[in-house]
Amino acid sequence: MYAKSMRMLVRHKAALACVIYLVLIICAATPVRAQIDLEGTYDTEDAVDFRSMLLGPRAVDFLGIPLNDQGRAGALAYSQDTVSVPGHQCESWGPQYLVEVGFPIRILPSFTDDGTVKSWTVSGWNDYQPLVIWMDARKPPDPNGLRRATGFTVGQWQGDTLQSVTTNIKDGVLTRNGVPSSDRESMLLWITRHDELLTVTGIVTDPVYLAEPWVQAREFIYTKNPPDSGLHYQYPCMQVQEVPELGRGVVPFYLPGKNPSKDDLVKRFHIPEAAVLGAPQAMYPQYRDKIKAQYTPPGKCTFDCCGWGDFRASANPKMECKDEGL
């Protein structure tokens, strides 16, 4: 009797161990299906980098972008006139635009027949092709087929964070001042919602133009009163001849060493040229310590002193605002 009980116990233990083992494997293999609802419209939090958020970064302001030599050379060749060339006017920005700029975003789900979320679509401004995060573990499209500017994205929940990977991106520009991006770029995106606060982190990797991954984060606030402009999935765009000089075949660019904005930030803010031109080490806090001894702050503010647009209201009334007429 005892022996039989022991055999059953051993057998049950073995079965129990198998069950536990299987459960552990399933748990490890299956992403945590968090019940976080991302649906809604989110406004941006005003930030210290509001100027680059709204107007875009200044010409030849590559601070904090870990460029390699190829990326730097390509970025210095870029002319801001490019966006007025008919063939470029309606180009959608790449996936990172969502984190780079300060526009509101809207997130909408689609569902499968059984009610589970099939995809999350993140739309931004009019010049952003919506980013579709597929949650159904679908296979990526053929990389040799046509691509979308915002690529192909698959995601899954890890705890309370939606993590996704974007690939199959078109060639384009990474920033509005012409840092190039290649079709080998990929982006990890983390979206975390804490009640009404949404934190979006993007990590861009591009072996062609970046020496290291470029990490950006942006905070958004849930809003019940979404703006009535922008945020459209469907915003038609037509090319027009904006500038007579930019006719057929004209390609605006700067020859090596001829970019007129190359020294702007060095002269205005005394920032080391290496940092302005996107030296990878300049994106780490230690770099400040390194240059601290040599850095001389400018005597007084002569440029972008009071913010821009509505932000002026919060500026010091005693401050003389010089913002180049913006």
Binding site: S92, N144, L146
Partner: protein
């Protein structure tokens, strides 16, 4: 971070699993048109009840793989072959693909069993300079079956098959003096041949009449021939371009390629204007900013070869006082 990297790794594995086997990938372009990639060389196949039209035949030695892929696309016979240039990567499989085909021959008496009855190999259409280059190029030993059989001189040639109008246009002095682009009008698909290489700087065959200014002019012409995916850009419409190598493109990517080539041409021209020698031009690294995307240190078309071709093309044009 670890989970994100694992996610990326899983995705990478999935992407790798989707890679074509044995260097062959068949990419649907539009209904009735596929792009067949064989060891990096693109071939366009238009197919339907009238048979198949094959634009370019890939590199020598790849014919069996190409024909096998075409059989997966359509069971109908190959009716026509079009060569976009005399480059070995465009005409390498001419003989085998033509013999495997079944043209609308002279002995044809009409329809048999609901189908055309062919009596010959598939004819090969090309600009006349392609035939000239294939017969006169030293070291190129093509069989008679590989030679173009329907040539045209200036302008172009057109015909209709499978409900689509197929327009073949001569583009002078770009990759070579025998370049054609092929437009499937109804499908709105354009085959660029060697004028566009999505993976490399374009090959400029100076020995056969190619030129950098002709390349730039050709790209501007391709911009004109194609239609952007506008105004509803998120729908993915517009013209589709099949390049010589690499993935499918839309007009905005032709514009980017045109931009790149214009910038590099003007950089080299600026150095020539400073009386720099070719060695000095190489040392000045005129392709900086584009090497990582399109350059190659070695192989059949290196960055150095490209820069030398641009330099020689521009200095020759300067010597002749023309914009070639």
């Amino acid at each position: 971070m670890l989970t994100a990297l694992l996610l990326a790794a899983c995705y990478g594995a999935a992407a790798a699993a989707a890679e074509p086997m044995a260097g062959v990938d068949v990419v649907p372009v539009r209904p009735g048109i596929d792009m067949v990639m064989v060891h990096g060389q693109n071939v366009a196949v238009q197919f339907g009840p009238d048979g198949a039209v094959v634009v370019d035949t890939g590199a020598p030695g790849d014919s069996a793989a190409l024909l096998s892929a075409i059989k997966q696309v359509t069971s109908e016979p190959i009716r026509f072959i079009i060569n976009t240039s005399a480059s070995p990567d465009r005409v390498g499989g001419n003989a085998e693909v033509s013999v495997a085909g079944q043209g609308f021959g002279e002995g044809e008496v009409g329809f048999g069993g609901g189908r055309f009855v062919g009596a010959s190999n598939a004819p090969i259409i090309a600009q006349a300079n392609v035939l000239l280059a294939m017969t006169t190029t030293a070291g190129a030993a093509y069989s008679s079956k590989a030679m173009p059989t329907l040539t045209y001189d200036a302008g172009g040639k057109g015909f209709s098959l499978n409900g689509d109008s197929i327009e073949i246009m001569h583009i002078p002095d770009a990759h070579s003096d025998g370049d054609s682009v092929v437009m499937f009008r109804r499908a709105d698909v354009l085959v660029s041949g060697d004028i566009v290489d999505m993976q490399h700087f374009p090959q400029i065959d100076l020995a056969h009449g190619g030129s950098i200014n002709g390349e730039v002019a050709a790209l501007n012409q391709l911009v004109d021939l194609t239609v952007p995916a506008l105004p509803l850009y998120w729908h993915g419409g517009g013209s589709v371009v099949i390049p010589a190598r690499g993935r499918l493109m839309q007009q905005e990517e032709i514009v980017q390629y045109r931009d790149m080539l214009t910038i590099l041409r003007d950089r080299v021209q600026a150095l020539i204007n400073q009386h720099r020698s070719l060695a000095q031009v190489h040392a000045a690294d005129p392709t900086a900013g584009y090497d990582g995307r399109y350059g190659a240190e070695g192989g059949p078309w290196s960055t150095d070869q490209f820069v030398a071709a641009v330099y020689q093309s521009l200095t020759a044009a300067q010597a002749h006082g023309r914009g070639r």
